[in-house]
Point group: C2
Chain length 255, copies 2
């Protein structure tokens, strides 16, 4: 008989160490096996009793299966994501692997621990751009056809949501963000505030605020989150060198 | 001359103490003045040097002005929200008060610290329902007309987003959630998985999983978050008494 294993999918948050929850830190400490994308595991200090399983960022499903196999063998597994593990991260991959895998895996102790997802970190640096209804959309067309992405962008624009775009580009995937901004512009017009927030919370943080009409898609890379305001998202200018605040009021006239 | 004050809007997360980030805990420790809705301040242990300013939950703008006045007088102010302060919480109110208030306030040191917003906590208990694109909508029509809410619900349904509904009901506001579910049903049909998650992470937690066709709006109260799946959100049944997992796959056929 094996000792009972368990698997928890955790998120470290978008960057700063003090954005990782105490609950996630406890899971990390108690794990026997840490498994994840190499650069995320690099953010965790390994303890002597722990085994590290680092992998590339294109192999989520293999990694998920490996995590489930280790758990079935009695290991205490932490699957390590950045941000929140349930938002375009490892949690969905683990459940995909679970559903398609050995039926016995369904009896395993599998949990998810929430984390700060990237858009919340970005919003906190700007002010309160998510003060009103918002959408979160991944621009990666590796796993879904572009037609689905475009349908969602149009729906989000017609609903006048604040829109957060995850995975807007990669080294090889450069066109999507330009096409997405075109799609949004065609419905929302040029004026909507548009933010490119790169590597928020790290020493490489760079935040560029412009409008849909002026936004330059070439400035977007795989570490950038793009935020497009609703028709009501606005700036509060501040004295001297202080950056403007960006926020979306809670109220809409007519209530 | 006053000592320089500062104001930080923080979020405690949805409930469990170990979901509050170390960054938010540090802000709480260093503040001279804690200001917020009473039940949220009750979650914080007051230190001898700290002043507590509790207020009712209908006075966000007054509370925000008070926080800015205290900051202008040199106090170190923590405005305390539940969840993430930028998602239907105090951050937007602070910027509304800032924009409408004393122009000198714009030079103040004002920050926002992110937190775990309720939908991330709920999602973590279910599996990975946010594994794909999603929308977050407040159903409160105190600050926006119902027509805007309905327009957004329709857009979210047409885009086949997973939909999280915050503020679905209160003691006096009982109709909105029934109308919202009707609106979603008319576009999405009856089959979409629908979750009522109440007080997640507390000892009063209660999670009810049904479908749009069977969901009973009477079970929703002000502490409930409602999650409606996309057409692809699915259940993984498990042996014995184990609750099913709910997740939304990352992939859509055709990519």
């Amino acid at each position: 008989m094996h000792e009972t294993g368990h698997l928890t999918v955790i998120g470290l948050g978008p960057g700063p160490q003090d954005w990782t929850t105490p609950a996630a830190l406890r899971i990390l400490r108690e794990a026997t096996d840490l498994i994840g994308y190499g650069p995320y595991l690099d953010r965790v200090e390994l303890q002597p009793h722990q085994t590290r399983h680092a992998s590339d960022n294109r192999v989520e499903l293999d990694r998920a299966r490996h995590a489930l196999e280790l758990t079935a063998r009695g290991r205490k597994v932490a699957v390590v994501s950045s941000g929140d593990p349930g938002v375009f991260a490892m949690a969905a991959a683990v459940f995909e692997a679970l559903e398609a895998g050995d039926p016995a895996w369904r009896g395993l102790d599998i949990r998810v621990e929430p984390g700060i997802t990237a858009v919340l970190g970005v919003a906190s640096r700007l002010g309160a751009p998510l003060g009103h209804d918002f959408c979160v959309i991944s621009l990666s067309d590796i796993l879904k056809p572009w037609a689905v992405i475009e349908q969602r962008l149009e729906a989000a624009a017609r609903g006048d949501f604040v829109i957060a775009l995850y995975n807007p580009a990669s080294r090889t995937r450069r066109d999507q963000i330009a096409r997405a901004l075109d799609c949004l512009r065609a419905i929302k017009g040029d004026a909507a505030l548009t933010v490119f927030a790169r590597a928020v919370g790290t020493h490489e943080e760079r935040v560029i605020v412009s409008t849909l009409g002026e936004a330059d898609a070439d400035l977007v890379d795989m570490r950038t989150l793009v935020l497009v305001g609703s028709s009501r998202t606005r700036r509060i200018e501040r004295p001297g060198e202080l950056p403007a605040f960006i926020y979306t009021p809670r109220f809409v006239e007519g209530a």
